[in-house]
């Protein structure tokens, strides 16, 4: 049984900010279907504005959904009480680790705060803090420090310790390595892998860093403008992406090898505004293989190969070798 089940989830928002109040709603997410098995890591990728963070907020109950169903460990999530009940079991690692830590609290208080909030008995707060710090490879003396005294990598580790305090089953990590040096990125990834093995965690990793996803995720889901455009096992998607958007994303990553410089541009233009959603396939405005059909007919997310889906009229038929 899967730990997290996202079925046909839609998120609409009322159009605000215009001079005249309107009943019009804009579609932010539509028809999102994903499932995450216990002990599995799912990487959610796409550019800014693709809806990754909105989906994470919906899973946590911070953004109400307009359609579809969410279920955690077999139980449906509908009411605020449902979400409150899972909050002990789903933890969040925020994108800006330093900013997510209250500047006036010591590291020791910060990492044990989730236990206090959830009234988990804690006979010795100091010992608990030391244990949590040890888990993420930080010395116990770090408990007395304040967030501004931490380096980027240390702040990230404190964020991990805080997320793990309640021994969750699922950790949602929003850009876990953004802004970190490469050597520190590798350390954080290794730490996340170790903790997953030791605690049987599942991860939902939100990122636009594909080289990160390649090494940590079992499954990958590519989003574009609030729609899933491709899902499948990470290795298979990287070896032969089915959707032209996945191809472009993979090809856009600068490669640390001057002998493999890209001669041409992998992708042009920018992600359109959700207010001006292109007709037909949403990606057709930037797709090098777009045809008349793509401009008119909305493609469905369909099975192309066992375990792999793509939302493209020509998925499987395009030459997408990298």
């Amino acid at each position: 049984m899967s730990l997290l089940e996202i079925s046909a989830v839609d998120v609409d928002l009322p159009l605000s900010g215009s001079l005249f109040p309107s009943r019009r709603r804009i579609s932010i997410l539509a028809d999102i279907n994903l499932s995450l098995a216990r002990g599995e890591t799912l990487g959610l990728v796409g550019e800014s504005g693709s809806g990754k963070t909105t989906l994470a907020r919906a899973i946590l109950g911070l953004q109400s959904i307009s359609g579809g169903n969410l279920a955690f460990d077999g139980a449906g999530l509908r009411t605020a009480a449902d979400f409150a009940a899972i909050r002990r079991r789903v933890a969040m690692m925020f994108q800006d680790a330093q900013a997510s830590l209250s500047p006036r609290m010591s590291v020791g208080s910060l990492i044990t705060e989730p236990l206090v909030i959830h009234r988990v008995p804690m006979p010795d707060r100091k010992a608990k803090a030391a244990q949590l710090l040890a888990q993420v490879g930080l010395p116990a003396a770090m408990a007395g420090r304040y967030p501004h005294e931490l380096s980027g990598g240390q702040a990230r580790r404190v964020g991990v310790a805080r997320a793990l305090a309640l021994e969750p089953s699922l950790v949602i990590a929003d850009e876990p390595t953004a802004g970190l040096d490469v050597s520190v990125q590798a350390e954080i990834l290794n730490l996340m892998s170790d903790l997953k093995d030791r605690m049987g965690l599942s991860y939902l990793i939100i990122t636009h860093n594909l080289s990160l996803v390649r090494h940590i995720a079992d499954q990958i889901a590519v989003m574009y403008l609030g729609r899933l455009v491709e899902t499948g096992p990470t290795a298979a998607v990287f070896a032969r992406p089915l959707h032209p958007y996945s191809v472009s994303l993979i090809a856009a990553e600068p490669r640390p090898d001057p002998r493999k410089r890209r001669a041409d541009l992998a992708i042009r233009g920018e992600i359109p505004s959700v207010l001006r959603r292109p007709a037909g396939c949403e990606f057709h405005t930037r797709c090098i293989s777009a045809t008349t059909r793509c401009r008119e007919e909305v493609p469905a997310l369909r099975h192309i190969e066992p375990g792999r889906m793509a939302r493209c009229h020509y998925a499987g038929a395009l030459n997408t070798n990298l």
Binding site: E253, R255, A266
Partner: protein, 322 residues
């Protein structure tokens, strides 16, 4: 190729609470016309201090303790504030990491691009506006006329960075310093900005200096690379040599741990281990010795020699043989 900018044995320290921080130690580098020089390093290695010195925009608590930054033979660090001001923007221009902070938020892009030409004499306002328009078109902004009338916040991140590049190139500076030019952008926009910088480079006669921690960006853009560690240039060479035949143990370790460089799925990535030395009290010997896999007793006591391997190639290491 003529040397436009020569950094000679530059040492710089910051006065901070509790002592002085040795941010740059004996840095020597040359930027030549028609060439892209990459300055690569992790947080705290001194690359931003070096960029600030090149454009004579040092923090108030900075003190140059030795050496010079020569632009066409003159030491810009010993010029008067007025001379430095005349130099900045006109002869040496900078592209910042966050294009939002590079522009004044309450003025339209057009007004700012006109103001940036204050160095020009005998040119009318309409001519300046026309020059601004041409420059925006050159950096790939399709509706340049509309862009001139926009406020910075109305542009997307990618457009803003293009506009910032146009602003930097307005006066055809001899030296262009780009400090983390793609770090704030999505991977697709990053690819486009790299492409743009490469295109502009073909008809730009000056020297470009790219400062970044992103190994992929250096590999895509630069001709020559200087690797910095703990305030020193530890290795210098042609981009191909640095990536394919690194000599300094730090360069090797850094390249090895980049997740983007590891093609096959790896659950555990290599790391460097240890920490940067305390720059308040830099080690007597080699600064990388505490983390170096090849460390010998003399590395800890004796400063490493600058080993010249060829005209363009240098490594600061006891273990490297000339």
């Amino acid at each position: 190729m003529t040397a436009l900018l020569e950094i000679e044995d530059l040492s710089l320290r910051y006065h901070v609470a509790g002592g002085t921080l040795q941010a740059l130690r004996h840095v020597s580098l040359t930027a030549r016309a028609g060439e892209v020089l990459g300055i690569m390093g992790e947080s705290g290695c001194g690359k931003s201090s070096l960029a600030a010195a090149i454009i004579a925009l040092l923090a108030r608590n900075a003190e140059v303790t030795g050496g010079a930054v020569r632009y066409r033979g003159r030491d810009i660090l010993r010029m008067s504030a007025e001379e430095q001001r005349q130099l900045r923007g006109r002869h040496i221009a900078m592209i910042f990491q966050d294009p939002m902070t590079a522009f004044n938020p309450v003025l339209r892009i057009g007004e700012q691009l006109v103001d940036f030409q204050h160095h020009l004499t005998g040119v009318s306002r309409s001519e300046r506006r026309a020059r601004a328009l041409t420059q925006l078109q050159k950096v790939g902004i399709a509706d340049a006329d509309l862009c001139l009338r926009r406020y910075p916040h109305e542009l997307s991140g990618g457009m803003r960075q293009r506009a910032a590049i146009a602003a930097a190139l307005l006066m055809s500076p001899d030296v262009l310093v780009a400090d983390e030019p793609t770090t704030a952008l999505d991977v697709t926009m990053e690819a486009q900005i790299i492409h743009l910088l490469r295109e502009l480079q073909t008809d730009y006669q000056g020297a470009v200096i790219v400062v970044t921690h992103h190994l992929g960006v250096i590999a895509e853009l630069c001709d020559r690379v200087a690797v910095m560690y703990a305030g020193e240039v530890v290795e210098e060479g042609l981009v191909d040599d640095i990536y394919h035949a690194p000599q300094h143990p730090y360069t090797r370790a850094l390249l090895a741990c980049d997740p983007a460089a590891i093609h096959d799925l790896a659950r555990r990535l290599p790391t460097i281990g240890g920490q940067l030395p305390d720059l308040m009290a830099p080690p007597a010997g080699c600064s990388f010795a505490p983390r170096c896999p090849l460390v010998k007793p003399r590395c800890r006591s004796e400063a490493p020699p600058r080993v010249l391997l060829s005209v363009d190639r240098m490594a600061l290491c006891h273990a490297v043989q000339a």
